[in-house]
């Protein structure tokens, strides 16, 4: 009834916001939550104060979507941009809502 899914958190410089949302949407996320954050990491990069600080994107997804987003992040963004990502297991209220990816429904 409360199935276990992944909560994926991505912290990235603001300039990536729209791209990351598009990415997670394409990989099967049914929604996301955005938080305006500040942060410091190893790169210390910020496009411009004017653009705002970092953005934290949280999305509840099935494990396959999570893995695909991880792969895409590593391939497209990890090198050139200030971005980190991690997942954890969550138990979700009415979890069926969060799994959209057709073949991935039977996440193993």
């Amino acid at each position: 009834m409360n199935p276990t899914l992944k909560k994926m958190t991505i912290v990235a410089e603001r300039v990536l916001k729209d791209k990351l949302i598009r990415l997670i949407r394409e990989e099967g996320a049914t929604g996301y939550t955005l938080i305006a954050v500040e942060g410091e990491g190893s790169r210390g990069v910020r496009a411009s104060e004017f653009e705002g600080r970092n953005v934290q994107i949280e999305t509840i997804v099935g494990p396959e979507t999570a893995q695909r987003v991880f792969d895409q992040l590593a391939e497209r963004f990890l090198e050139a941009y200030a971005v980190i990502a991690y997942t954890s297991d969550v138990e979700v209220l009415r979890g069926t809502k969060f799994v959209r990816d057709s073949p991935a429904n039977s996440d193993s």
Binding site: V15, A36, V45, A47, S48, E49, F50, E51, A80
Partner: protein
């Protein structure tokens, strides 16, 4: 008319002093000091974004009203000169950064995009300095800010891409950067304000003047407080920049600034207007350019381009550059 160069030194010193002791410059200094003494002062990000929004829209509005009052014939010359500066300055910045500054093509292009564009706050400070110095600066200058903001960024990106296009760069696409620049909030607000101001004309803009025009300079003070803090944080990175970059960070504004002054005078502008155009030309963007560069050239190091534009060139112009362009413009004006 004073013989060129006559009372010049006295006036020059006075202008420098006038320029430094102003609420705007001192608020910038206060921001720097706040970082140095590790104060917990902070301008909330939302306030800072609100202030930028206000400033850009207000600049546009003012420029638009001026455009609506200026015959096209009078605008054409300065606009053309501004466009030429928008192509020349990124090119010279690129070549100097590449060969004297020893930057990679990507980094040099990124820096060029910044120096080819314009810093709205430097423009505003120059306008104030002109007024304080009793010089006339044409109202349509705000419109030139909009003209100068875009092309330099593209030239810089093209210069950087020229070699990088050989498969090396990933992530950043030129097309996206074009979209980013043209739809970016700074351009949108500036152009939007310009169009609104032009359409409405002086009389209707008058009605919103108590918000957009009269308190403008005070708002600018608050903005500079935060900008001082940002610049001070950037200055910490100066030690990693190397002397070659520091030299360029002060030489480029002077070089481009004098180009701008001369161009302005050629276009028949008032000495004050030419000086402001010089300050614009000599300034480096830190609003529109960084965002575009980050998208199109993610491999370029923000540690270089932001430190140069915000940590070196901006404070340099605010304190040394602007009064110098005023002096140069006064001095050269009689020859035109």
């Amino acid at each position: 008319m004073p013989k060129p160069g006559q009372h010049d030194n006295g006036r020059k010193v006075e202008i420098v002093f006038q320029n430094l002791i102003s609420p705007i410059v001192l608020c910038f200094a206060l921001g720097i000091i706040a970082v140095w003494i590790r104060s917990d002062l902070e301008v909330p990000p939302a306030i800072y974004q609100g202030l930028s929004l206000y400033l850009l829209l207000a600049i546009g509005l003012k420029g638009g009203v001026a455009v609506s009052q200026t015959p096209v014939s009078e605008l054409a010359g300065p606009a053309l000169v501004t466009l030429v500066l928008g192509f020349l300055t990124p090119l010279s910045a690129f070549l100097l950064m590449r060969h004297f500054g020893r930057l990679s093509r990507i980094d040099a292009g990124a820096v060029a995009a910044h120096y080819g564009s314009v810093s709205a706050v430097t423009f505003l400070a120059a306008i104030e300095a002109a007024r304080a110095g009793g010089l006339i600066a044409e109202g349509y200058l705000s419109a030139l800010v909009a003209i100068l903001e875009v092309p330099g960024i593209f030239v810089g990106l093209v210069l950087a891409r020229h070699g990088a296009s050989a498969g090396k760069s990933k992530g950043g696409s030129f097309g996206e950067a074009v979209h980013e620049v043209l739809t970016g909030r700074s351009i949108l607000l500036l152009i939007g304000g310009l169009v609104i101001g032009t359409l409405c004309g002086a009389k209707k803009v008058e009605e919103v003047a108590p918000f957009f025009i009269t308190p403008f300079k005070g708002v600018l003070c608050l903005f500079l407080l935060e900008l001082g803090m940002v610049a001070a944080r950037r200055m910490r990175d100066l030690k990693n920049a190397g002397w070659r970059l520091l030299v360029l960070g002060t030489f480029l504004p002077l070089f481009h600034g004098i180009l701008g002054v001369v161009g302005g005078l050629i276009a028949g502008m008032e000495p004050g207007g030419a000086a402001v155009l010089g300050a614009m030309s000599g300034s480096a963007s830190y609003i529109a350019a960084p965002a575009a560069v980050r998208i199109a050239l993610p491999e370029a190091s923000p540690g270089i381009y932001l430190t140069l534009s915000l940590g070196v060139t901006f404070p340099f112009n605010l304190t040394v550059g602007i009064p110098m362009f005023m002096a140069v413009s006064r001095w050269l004006a009689p020859y035109f």
